[in-house]
């Protein structure tokens, strides 16, 4: 179960607290996965008592520090929630690795999230990470069967005898995959636009020896403008989702095999 309690002495009106919390949760606690199981008790509560604000200070939501996603307080709050959520992943039962999964898509945020979540939930990906194996095949496989991605490929037509193809959310020949080492060294490209790279196994192993790992998946790689910034039409259509997860070890089974009701 996940529980969270967040308190601030800033002054925020009750009416706007839920939307702030919901928005931050969507990008923090709702973007972590340890074992793929959703608890019956998960709750994050947020309190704002205004004790650091004077009586004549207006509530934050009436200020420029609050109104947009990029506003100062919203950024503070979102970052704080992400940092709390990441601590949970650091303590995943039996975990030895902290894994950041970044997925970009030019189709939709939902597509990116589905792919990222499917990777984060895959037992085979997670055991490969535990075994320090750069098994990108398992990662691709997890993307390919992601609920909502696979299901959308075939939509029943009006005729019960036929199916028609919906526009694909993912094209294998536009999919690229890399590991980003946590020591700041060069990324290790594993797959570029559907074509496997020749992988230096020794380097892959060295990267996977580190506690932290970043997996980058581009579902929209056509070989140009790979940045997320910029004003191009392409950049404006790109959606990026970050999900945090951990590996799956023997210890996880030991802990949960011992846990009793």
């Amino acid at each position: 179960t996940l529980l969270g309690i967040v308190c601030t002495d800033a002054k925020i009106e009750a009416a706007s607290m839920y939307s702030l919390l919901q928005s931050a949760t969507e990008r923090s606690f709702n973007c972590i996965s340890i074992d793929g199981d959703t608890s019956t008790n998960d709750t994050v509560a947020f309190f704002a008592n205004g004790a650091a604000a004077s009586d004549d200070t207006p509530p934050l939501q009436n200020s420029d520090d609050y109104r947009e996603d990029t506003a100062a307080f919203v950024k503070v709050f979102h970052t704080f929630m992400c940092d709390l959520a990441k601590l949970v992943v650091r303590d995943g039962e039996g975990a030895t690795k902290f894994v950041t999964i970044n997925v970009t898509s030019d189709v939709s945020m939902a597509t990116a999230k589905r792919a990222a979540t499917s990777i984060a939930r895959s037992a085979l990906v997670k055991t490969a990470l535990y075994g320090k194996d750069a098994n990108w095949g398992r990662i691709l496989c997890a993307i390919g069967y992601a609920p909502g991605i696979m299901d959308s490929l075939e939509v029943p037509s009006e005729s019960p005898d036929h199916t028609q193809s919906a526009p694909p959310q993912i094209s294998p020949d536009r999919t690229s995959l890399s590991f980003i080492p946590s020591d700041g060294s060069e990324e290790l490209k594993l797959l570029v636009r559907g074509e496997p790279e020749t992988v230096d196994e020794a380097r892959a192993k060295a990267i996977l020896e580190m506690e932290d790992l970043e997996i980058v998946v581009k579902l929209d790689d056509d070989g140009v403008d790979s940045g997320l910034t910029g004003t191009s039409d392409r950049a404006s259509k790109r959606h990026k989702v970050t999900v945090w997860t951990c590996d799956l070890s023997h210890e996880y089974v030991t802990i949960n095999g011992d846990y009793r009701t």
Partner: protein, 205 residues
């Protein structure tokens, strides 16, 4: 037994913090789990003055009693909250009508400590399908109230008290300023604790 923090995880546990004004944290021992003979398993995090609150909760169909309790409370009003009382060791989930009563009793026990017509939210974590040892818990809540304080240790002890299979308490605090003219020169603080190590794939709203 006392729970020790693995060496590799100690770097994630803060040794000091800067905590929001007017908030207090406390913990107490109830012995919710039979096997727990020593460590605190009740936490109380409160504002000295009632304040607005919000919560996001699991979308799991089998929501635990404290989740229903919080949702119902916050649906009726977002204001006038004192804080939250938490027990670890038993989730009070899938515990029938009695479970709802137990969640309300936990809130009531905390509310009584403040001698005000306020509301305390409730959280529980631990084993699913077992009833809370409610007397142990309601007896311990006034002790957690007595233990309230604003130091780093108070916050850290509360963060420890909500742990289950966690190997370390998860506590963060930060101070910040805002560029807007209405907040010029003011320093605010934010603090939070979280717990979780297994059964983690939250989907809250």
């Amino acid at each position: 037994a006392e729970r020790s923090i693995p060496v590799a995880k100690q770097k994630y546990v803060p040794t000091s913090g800067t905590y929001p004004k007017g908030f207090l944290a406390g913990s107490a021992y109830a012995g919710v789990k039979e096997s727990n003979k020593s460590y605190d398993d009740i936490a109380l995090v409160v504002s000295e003055k009632p304040c607005p609150a919000a919560a996001v909760t699991t979308k799991n169909i089998f929501k635990a009693a404290p989740v229903h309790f919080c949702r119902k409370a916050l649906k009726s009003s977002n204001e006038g909250y004192q804080g939250v009382v938490v027990n670890s060791g038993c989730a009070n989930a899938v515990t029938g009508e009695l479970g709802f009563q137990h969640a309300a009793m936990m809130a009531e026990a905390a509310d009584k400590c403040f001698h005000q017509d306020t509301q305390t939210l409730v959280m529980s974590t631990g084993v699913i399908g077992q009833r809370l040892p409610i007397d142990k818990i309601t007896n311990a809540i006034p002790k957690a109230y007595q233990a309230l304080g604003s130091t780093h240790d108070h916050w850290l002890n509360a963060a420890k008290a909500i742990c289950t299979t966690d190997t370390f308490p998860k506590l963060l605090s930060r101070s910040f300023t805002l560029p807007g003219s209405q907040h010029e020169g003011k320093e605010y603080r934010i603090a939070g604790m979280t717990k979780g190590a297994g059964m983690i794939h939250p989907n809250m709203g």
